[in-house]
């Protein structure tokens, strides 16, 4: 080990060492006359492969480390600095940078330590897996690609694919003695196939799987789903522009709710960019049978964090019950402004961001649950099944409530379904939430949450017919 690597501050090939990092940080802070600080750190080792028609396309490895240091100055103002340099000089420079930046801290809203930064954490069942060799990952992905290509002669390529594994650690420390540390391994597989028949437009479809290790990935399920989604869209037709009853797949509805999560975000409310306000609590936002909870601790949430960027424990939180807003997502600062406790949804910074973890969407217990017995294949009137939404970053105006999004899906009538060539769905989220018809089928676990199929009335569909 040479001099530079031996001076690494508590981070080495075995990961982060909280005790060593705390000791070093306290020493550096004392020397710089800094009395109050906190730190978020992470390090990870990643390997990933991509293939192209039986050959390795790209093989990647990465060792990453990052820290964010916050410092409170004598006037109580906060400064922050981030760096990937975990050496002693790097940390000293980060502390110095944070102290300098604190001169520009916002006196109107100064973050403080979370009062829950030392509260007990939930125990997460997250088995740690040993990484597979990259050549093993490559062999697995080549085989998966071959199986997918063999499913249908029209599937010519799987242009977007990847098998990745990650070993990571997160750390939160503060000068009041809080110490959070989490180790995690995860793996992911995605297969996105492209199919084309003579004289027809190319079609595509894909699937994703997550697990705690590459050996636990549901590879066969991913191949089945990617194949089914691709092949089922080969026979397509344009759709007439108009208003349709729509059935959102669990994935599509979760995407839409996630894109409008500023409805529940206390940070966005304080910033004036949410459709909600402080007074929205207990107000009717949606149909009276809709429940939305945020629950990062759900066992279906692979890679869940036990604590947020401020060290606050992750916990379940009811956002909507009976269609009425129950709670907002909070950081320490927004919770203080609202007079409630932090909810475990904070990032870290001089201005702390707030975001959701993992949604659970269901019928409110005790409600009628909306229209019963919904079955899109048994419907006589035409309806649109929206399988997946695209371009959410561009087509959602969260502060205005409007959306216009391309989607993959089917036109369904009299039990027959036909893939839609190309179309967008547009509307207003508040109108949509109030216009829910009901739920169909059991809730499905997805990477973003838990949700059944959701029926909505009267959405605008633009086709190319």
């Amino acid at each position: 080990m040479d001099s530079q690597s031996s001076s690494k501050m508590g981070a080495n090939s075995k990961g982060l060492n909280p005790i060593q990092i705390r000791d070093r940080l306290e020493q550096l802070a004392r020397g710089a006359g800094i009395n109050q600080w906190d730190l978020g750190a992470s390090c990870s080792t990643d390997t990933s492969v991509q293939v192209d028609r039986g050959e390795a396309k790209q093989m990647k490895g990465a060792q990453r480390s990052a820290i964010t240091v916050r410092v409170w100055n004598g006037d109580g103002l906060v400064g922050v600095t981030s760096t990937s340099d975990l050496s002693d000089p790097g940390l000293a420079k980060a502390l110095e940078g944070a102290r300098d930046a604190s001169a520009f801290g916002n006196a109107d809203e100064t973050p403080a330590f979370s009062p829950l930064a030392t509260a007990p954490l939930a125990t997460l069942e997250q088995p740690i897996h040993q990484p597979q060799s990259i050549l093993d990952l490559l062999a697995t992905l080549k085989d998966a690609e071959r199986q997918l290509l063999d499913r249908h002669q029209a599937i010519g390529t799987v242009p977007y694919n990847g098998l990745a594994q990650r070993s990571s650690e997160r750390l939160y420390l503060n000068s009041d003695g809080a110490s959070r540390h989490q180790r995690l391994t995860t793996a992911s597989l995605y297969l996105y196939a492209r199919a084309e028949e003579t004289g027809r437009k190319p079609r595509s479809g894909g699937a994703v799987r997550l697990a705690y290790g590459a050996s636990d990935l549901d590879i066969a399920g991913c191949i089945d789903e990617a194949a089914e989604r691709t092949i089922s869209h080969l026979d397509y037709a344009p759709i007439d522009t108009g208003h349709y009853t729509c059935v959102f797949s669990p994935e599509a509805f979760l995407d839409l709710v996630g894109a409008f999560s500023s409805l529940f975000n206390a940070r966005a409310i304080l910033d004036g960019v949410s459709l909600s306000s402080r007074e929205s609590l207990d107000h009717q936002l949606a149909a009276p049978f809709l429940s939305i909870h945020d629950n990062g601790l759900n066992p279906g949430n692979v890679g869940a964090s036990a604590f947020d960027g401020e060290g606050t424990p992750t916990k379940p939180l009811a956002l909507l019950e009976g269609g009425m807003i129950q709670n907002f997502l909070h950081s320490e600062a927004t919770a203080r402004a609202f007079g409630v406790a932090p909810t475990g949804h904070a990032g870290m910074g001089s201005k702390v961001s707030v975001g959701p973890d993992w949604f659970e969407i269901s019928a409110t217990p005790g409600s009628d649950g909306g229209q019963q017995g919904l079955n899109h294949l048994g419907e006589g009137s035409p309806l649109v099944l929206i399988e997946s939404l695209s371009a959410l970053h561009a087509g959602v105006k969260a502060s205005q409530g409007s959306f216009s999004l391309p989607f993959d899906g089917w036109l369904i009538q009299n039990g027959q379904r036909r893939s839609i060539e190309a179309a967008t769905v547009a509307g207003d989220i508040r109108t949509l939430l109030k216009g829910l018809v009901g739920f169909e089928g059991p809730a499905k676990v997805t990477p973003d949450g838990l949700c059944p199929h959701v029926w909505v009335d009267g959405l605008s569909i633009t086709g190319e017919a």
Partner: protein, 473 residues
């Protein structure tokens, strides 16, 4: 205060360390080894209403090592720039190709060439940038101007980002080059609200290689532009969906060409088999009115470079000339795998990404018409004054939000409309761009793709598309 980068920089001592690394890689059986070293220094500022709410400095360093054998490659990135750290990363990259480090004689590495130092004249750039005090003052001028010019404003935001990067590229073909890059960008955003009416709009301005850029920013004019658009759109009706002709304004209107067609002219798409233009060089793929160019040379433009991230000087690449496809954008791997010669387009967000063929400053060239002639040629259609974001799917289908739109009725602009989305496919839309105006302008943007998020410029004059699907309510 200026946050200076890590002390030391990439000085002359790196030559021997890199030659040792490259020699080791080639001696182990690699056909080519490339090392990309990077140091970064970033600052982000946010002003909301009349307060600075976030000052976020960040600095970092890292290396990306790429090993080629045949047309395969392995890539490893690390934050550890020690000799041991770099050799460990190299071993991992070699292992991906089934190679093990050996001390064999090296036949395919003759040492690094003389350093091409594009950074030499840029070493004071960081120090010449505005200090935080000055930058925050300018931002607050911007949000103050929004307040003066706006009506019904519920939120006013100004943001500033300064990204400084020093890179050193060394490869076993002798490539040895250093550069310093500086990008500054400024954004103004407003949310106007009146009862149930809401309009959120923003504009972003950006340059490269101009340390004094922020000092020359017209805060007043920028605020007026944003507020004028917000006032117009606040009470706009939703557009009716359908097929119609459209006139797209200049500057950021070029984002559609960038997304819908430009990406399909990158060799990464040829490799994936996801471009319909792979075998169309020499064929007509667009209306004869269309000439499209990608280059990295325009002074101060966001996508300009002295060298790409593989050490090659950028070229001016004519992609389409009078409707005929002329060539693709290519990087080292693209040349190796598709045969298209490199164009100085190998780009990456940073050391943790392998370079890929990516756009720089991409635009449709000016034509002979005035913008008014384009609008006058449309009976019933849509004028897209300002575009929002968009995306392109794996089958080439694109989708773009129109941030500020107006109906064209009988050759004249009439009422503002919101909620419009332009939908189509490059192969079908390119032949329908029938008129180009004479008012080419460029606009700064960010492009996210296989090698991360990079600084780019999009641009065009006003253009007319004879028929396009407009999504609405």
């Amino acid at each position: 205060m200026v946050l200076s980068p890590l002390a030391g920089g990439f000085d002359t001592t790196w030559r021997s360390r890199l030659e040792s690394l490259l020699s080791s890689g080639c001696g182990s059986g690699a056909d080519l080894v490339e090392v990309f070293l990077e140091r970064t220094d970033h600052i982000g500022l946010l002003a909301e209403q009349d307060t600075i709410t976030s000052v976020s400095p960040a600095f970092g360093m890292g290396a990306g090592i790429r090993v080629f054998r045949g047309d395969r490659d392995g890539f490893v990135s690390t934050n550890d720039l020690s000799e041991a750290g770099l050799h460990h990363a190299l071993e991992q990259a070699l292992g991906m190709l089934g190679l093990a480090p050996t001390a064999s004689a090296v036949a395919n590495f003759e040492g690094l060439k003389i350093l091409r130092d594009f950074a030499a004249s840029k070493t004071d750039w960081l120090q010449r940038c505005p200090e935080i005090q000055e930058a925050t003052g300018t931002l607050l001028e911007g949000t103050g101007a929004l307040e003066r010019h706006g009506h019904h404003l519920q939120a006013r935001r100004g943001s500033y980002a300064r990204d400084w990067q020093e890179v050193l590229v060394a490869a076993s073909d002798g490539t040895f080059a250093r550069d310093i890059r500086l990008h500054q960008s400024l954004g103004l955003n407003v949310l106007a609200a009146d009862g149930d009416h809401r309009a959120g709009l923003g504009r972003r301005y950006g340059t490269s290689g101009r340390p004094d850029d922020l000092r020359e920013w017209d805060a007043e004019g920028s605020a007026q532009e944003v507020c004028s658009s917000a006032a117009t759109m606040l009470y706009a009706d939703y557009v009716e969906a359908g097929q119609m002709p459209a006139v797209l304004a200049n500057r950021f209107g070029g984002v559609i060409f960038h997304e819908a067609c430009g990406h399909l002219l990158e060799t990464t798409q040829v490799e994936r088999g996801t471009t319909p233009f792979a075998d169309k060089v020499g064929d007509v793929i667009a209306h004869e009115a269309v000439t499209a160019i990608d280059e990295g040379l325009s002074d101060g433009a966001f996508g300009s470079l002295s060298m790409d991230d593989e050490g090659m000087e950028p070229q001016r690449t004519v992609l389409i000339e009078n409707g005929v496809l002329k060539r693709f954008l290519s990087d080292r791997a693209g040349e190796l795998r598709t045969g298209h010669a490199r164009t100085g387009s190998g780009r990456r967000q940073g050391h943790s990404f392998a370079a890929a063929s990516r756009m720089r400053n991409t635009f449709i060239a000016a034509g002979p018409h005035s913008p008014e002639e384009l609008i006058a040629s449309v009976d019933q259609g849509l004028y897209c004054k300002s575009m929002g974001g968009g995306s392109v799917g794996p089958t080439g289908q694109f989708n773009f939000a129109v941030e500020e739109g107006y109906l064209i009725e009988n050759g004249k602009l009439t009422k503002p409309v919101k909620g419009a989305t332009l939908i189509g496919e490059a192969k079908e839309v390119m032949p329908r761009i029938s008129m180009c105006a004479n008012d080419l302008e460029l606009a700064a943007g960010f492009c996210g793709s296989v090698s991360g998020s990079i600084f780019v410029t999009v641009g065009q004059p006003h253009i007319k598309v004879d028929s396009i699907t407009v999504g609405g309510r």
